[in-house]
């Protein structure tokens, strides 16, 4: 992400996958969930579509049979920071590995008409911005991708996508966006409320003792 006088900007070429309901099993198949690390998932993003062979954890991109037709294997989309897709992106499993794979590949923003709830929440914790747009706006952007290599500039503070003369505004909760802008750690924030949690817990132990047996 870069910053200019107007705020934080994510910009560049938009990679696009014209499908609804891309589930987290497609974003990263279960085989790679065997890793006990939090990084190093870039080669496994969209594994089933990106390669023509079956992969294993630890086998890198260079050892695989690449599907040249898949967008992330094509220049300049292999360097994209922005992914455009359609409805219900990230539905299915709660695996945070899906966001880690996008992040490790270099994706900083995903634009879709809707997202799976758990994926949406996981994204903000890992510096990936999910942007919800109206279906007509998604249609418009897909139309543009068919005419040229689409480049967008996303201004985080202004919550705007800029494309030539056109500006598309998007909504995102401030507290979620702040997590990306300031890289906030949830555990640190919550532990500031330690006394309140302890008080709550003590009352609960008295009122609902069966929970604590």
């Amino acid at each position: 992400m870069k910053s200019n006088s107007e705020g934080l900007i994510i910009d560049g070429v938009v990679a696009y996958i014209d499908r609804d309901n891309i589930d987290t099993d497609q974003i990263i198949p279960t085989e790679y969930l065997k890793s006990i690390k939090k990084f190093g998932f870039e080669d496994y993003l969209f594994d089933g579509w990106r390669y023509k062979d079956d992969g294993k954890l630890g086998v890198t991109k260079d050892e695989r049979v690449i599907d040249e037709n898949f967008i992330l294997n094509k220049n300049p989309f292999n360097e994209s920071k922005i992914l455009l897709t359609r409805d219900n992106f990230g539905c299915g499993s709660s695996r945070e590995h899906a966001v880690w794979a996008l992040r490790d590949f270099g994706i900083k923003a995903v634009i879709a008409s809707s997202f799976g709830d758990i994926f949406y929440n996981n994204s903000f914790k890992n510096g990936v911005l999910p942007i919800k747009l109206e279906k007509q706006e998604i249609d418009f952007l897909f139309d543009q991708t068919q005419q040229k290599v689409l480049e967008l500039s996303i201004n985080l503070q202004k919550k705007e996508i800029n494309y030539g003369e056109k500006t598309i505004s998007f909504h995102v909760e401030k507290h979620l966006l702040d997590r990306i802008i300031y890289g906030l750690d949830d555990v640190d924030i919550t532990l500031k409320e330690k006394d309140k949690i302890l008080d709550f817990e003590m009352t609960r132990v008295e009122e609902r003792p069966w929970i604590f047996k």
Binding site: E96, D117, D186, I189
Partner: protein, 467 residues
């Protein structure tokens, strides 16, 4: 004026943060080997310990082989990478003192099966786990949801979840079903109607005369798949059946249990509660459901024609085309035209004793079809396995040609040795028919244990009303 979800939310609400989000107190946290290692690593890095040890219960399930036999331990796993993850769970649980039903325990099993059956899930709790099928526990009147690994770390460290409130949806199932229809068909039908994003942003309460009429296990199957309708929370108000079920599993002393029971009776939506969305479904018209494509919403009555691009609306043509292609559907027009290779009865959706009884009833005295190369039954836990064996169900299955396995997630997902080979077609009682879910290029058709049992015997999707 309050819904059950509202009541559970208020009951666990610790405080509202400056950001507008709330801290919800978490009563129970389940852990398994896949989504916990990075969370423990984070905890160690921050030099923190679990906030309340006895809130946490762990078991390995995703990676474990289901052909273990005797004297098997974590070190016996032959897949080196899977072994690391299971051993890592052992290490983390030992290090922090978290109660684990490890691979050697006769109580090990799929986390969503063992939680309720060991009495750790009781009504009115908030329950989380790094697994989207945590919604299962909502069947006992809990506010239960799947979380990511960052949140697993957060719950370990703070005993709270930082969340915003969901909207309320009420799905009322009314009427009676016929003998071939089970709760799996009901939830698949719902997903077919509202789509896999239909419940996104909602907590879905399931109610109505049908819900009252079914067992707690049947209710678990419905709440389990709330997430396949997009809702991370599915829940059902506890009734006398729930209380009897919980009593039969409980480790609480009688006084505490009776005290709890009085509170549990208050856990229901008020008559005048306001839901943001309400749906009523007449279940008497629902037939056995089978998925044909690569999303749970691509579901049909067992005897319906498979959609083609020609009979599909424009906006959905591409989805249908891609799904038909992946599923290897060419000239076949009906599900009964497809030839199956494997049958899987198991998963957190359908591996409880009732599921196994229903399937066994159908296969009893019969033999699996010659085109079925492998049919496996994977009980959800050590206790389910033991119960089934006491009832002789294992023998019914093996006599018919099924293989009887040890508990685990098994073929629901390709993390352990139970996987489809490329292009194999499987009748599966699991919850997701996503591309590659059961193995690279594998083809999954979701259905009930009853329909999977019929498919094993016939070799394709048969008409249960003619058999």
């Amino acid at each position: 004026m309050k819904t059950l979800y509202d009541k559970l939310w208020e009951e666990h609400h610790v405080t509202q943060l400056d950001s507008g989000e709330s801290l919800l107190y978490i009563d129970r946290h389940y852990l398994h080997e896949v989504t916990s290692p990075q969370a423990f690593e984070g905890l160690i890095k921050k030099n923190l310990k679990p906030w309340r040890l006895n809130a946490n219960i762990a078991t390995p399930d995703h990676n474990v082989p289901t052909t273990r036999g005797n004297n098997f331990n974590s070190e016996s796993i032959t897949d080196e990478i899977s072994k690391i993850q299971v051993v890592e769970l052992d290490k983390n649980c030992n290090k922090f003192g978290i109660k684990q039903f490890d691979i050697e325990s006769n109580k090990q099993g799929i986390v969503h099966v063992i939680g309720p059956e060991l009495g750790f899930t009781i009504p009115g709790m908030t329950i989380v786990c790094g697994d989207s099928h945590t919604s299962t526990h909502g069947a006992l009147g809990c506010l239960a949801m799947g979380i990511g690994t960052s949140e697993v770390e957060h719950v370990l460290a703070t005993q709270c979840l930082k969340v915003s409130k969901l909207k309320n949806m009420n799905v009322r199932f009314e009427g009676e079903v016929d003998e071939h229809v089970s709760s799996k068909d009901i939830v698949l039908y719902l997903i077919g109607q509202i789509g896999t994003a239909g419940g996104t942003g909602y907590a879905i309460e399931f109610s109505g005369s049908y819900i009252s009429s079914i067992s707690v296990e049947g209710r678990m199957t419905i709440c389990n798949m709330a997430i396949e309708a997009g809702a991370k929370v599915g829940l059902i108000a506890p009734d006398n059946k729930t209380i009897e079920y919980v009593k039969s599993k409980s480790f609480l002393d009688d006084d505490t249990f009776n005290q709890a029971k009085e509170y549990w009776k208050t856990l229901k939506s008020d008559d005048d509660a306001k839901f943001d969305k309400e749906i009523t479904i007449d279940v008497s018209k629902i037939k056995p459901q089978v998925t044909w494509g690569t999303s749970p919403e691509m579901v049909l009555n067992y005897d319906e024609s498979i959609p083609t691009v020609f009979d599909t609306k424009d906006e959905n043509k591409k989805n249908v085309e891609l799904a038909r292609d992946y599923m290897g559907i060419e000239n076949e027009t009906k599900l009964s035209d497809l030839t199956f290779d494997k049958v899987f009865i198991g998963s957190c959706t359908n591996s409880r004793i009732e599921d196994l009884r229903q399937a066994a009833e159908i296969v009893k005295g019969k033999t699996i079809a010659s085109n079925i190369s492998e049919a496996i039954v994977v009980p959800g836990s050590g206790l389910v396995k033991e119960q089934a064996e006491n009832e002789g169900l294992d023998k019914v299955f093996t006599d018919a040609g099924f293989i009887w396995r040890d508990p685990g997630c098994s073929m629901c997902l390709g993390m352990n040795p139970d996987q489809l080979k490329p292009y194999e077609r499987c009748a599966s009682t699991s919850n997701r028919n996503f591309e590659g879910r059961q193995g690279y290029l594998g083809r999954t058709h979701l259905m009930s244990p009853i329909m999977a049992a019929y498919t094993a015997i016939i070799g394709t999707i048969g008409d249960p009303y003619e058999i």
